[in-house]
């Protein structure tokens, strides 16, 4: 039992460190972009598309980070943006369904299954769930 707790603490600490190495720099970068006004351009660019899922244009940054990098990067982005509970719930659902597509794609390829349909499925589910939640919430 003590061994299990020790193992848990050790694992938590190393996972924590590796996550923070992602979350904090991403968060600082996004906050910097916010203060310099770059996020504003991004917001305008993606606003029409993101309206479909009930999110501001700047949330596209969180979505792209989550899809291509991972959930922790997306968390850093979300922390830097000013989003409400409704927006975070929609983003959380969309990112839960599809995230780390590159890395998890590589893992799933190791079990020798068809990769392309699975990744497309995840992205489609993610977008559709966003549209549905935008209507429901």
């Amino acid at each position: 039992m003590v061994e299990a707790i020790k193992r848990g603490v050790k694992k938590s600490w190393s996972t924590y460190l590796s996550l923070m190495k992602i979350i904090i720099p991403v968060y600082i970068l996004v906050t910097f972009l916010k203060y310099t006004g770059v996020i504003g351009y991004f917001d305008q660019l993606f606003s029409p598309m993101m309206k479909l899922v009930g999110l501001p244009g700047e949330a596209a940054l969180a979505l792209l980070t989550g899809y291509l990098m991972n959930i922790y990067g997306a968390l850093g982005v979300i922390a830097g943006l000013d989003l409400g509970a409704r927006e975070i719930t929609i983003l959380g659902t969309m990112l839960g369904l599809a995230h780390s597509l590159i890395i998890e794609g590589a893992i799933i390829k190791r079990i020798r299954v068809r990769l392309f349909p699975l990744i497309s499925l995840r992205i489609i589910l993610s977008l559709v769930s966003g549209i549905i939640l935008n209507i429901l919430l």
Binding site: R7, G8, Y35, T89, L91, R112, V113, L133
Partner: protein, 160 residues
């Protein structure tokens, strides 16, 4: 640019994230180790029995499924590879497991992290689990050639 405001926000926000993630990660990962130590994972895997029946999967698929929920997809995939090498899962069953796992894995950790920054956990967890079950059901019903599996099973039953 408002440098003072920027540094103030970055400092406070970083501290907030450090705390938020720690509060979730440490209890969760330590709890998982304890559950694993007590051998409860095998018991939990019986929770998957009704779902496995819907998907027409054998009992052997339950351990990779539960491990992927608890430890994430990397460990789940490791167990799946072993199941395939041990001939416990056929290639069509493997694809069914993969469809479910792609949509639904490490749900506790992912959900809690978004709950910590203000999301609604029930909606996030619920939609993911329901979608995973629905999609995998549709996949196993319409895309898997079930007759072929039955024949394989019959042949196995006859020979042993």
């Amino acid at each position: 640019m408002d440098w003072a405001g920027f540094f103030f926000e970055v400092f406070n926000g970083s501290l907030g994230m450090l705390k938020t993630v720690a509060v979730i990660l440490f209890p969760l990962l330590i709890g998982i180790e304890i559950v694993d130590e007590l051998g409860l994972l095998d018991k939990f895997s019986s929770l998957f029995a009704p779902i496995l029946r819907i998907f027409k999967l054998p009992k052997d698929a339950s351990l990779p499924l539960i491990v992927a929920q608890v430890f994430g997809i990397t460990y789940g995939a490791g167990l799946i590879i072993r199941s395939v090498e041990d001939d416990k899962l056929s290639s069509s069953e493997l694809m069914t497991v993969a469809v479910f796992l792609m949509v639904c894995h490490a749900v506790v950790e992912d959900t809690l992290l978004f709950v910590a920054i203000g999301g609604n956990g029930l909606i996030m967890l619920g939609s993911r689990v329901i979608l995973a079950i629905l999609i995998t059901y549709l996949y196993s019903k319409y895309f898997v050639n079930n007759e072929k599996i039955d024949i394989e099973e019959l042949v196995e039953a006859d020979c042993c």
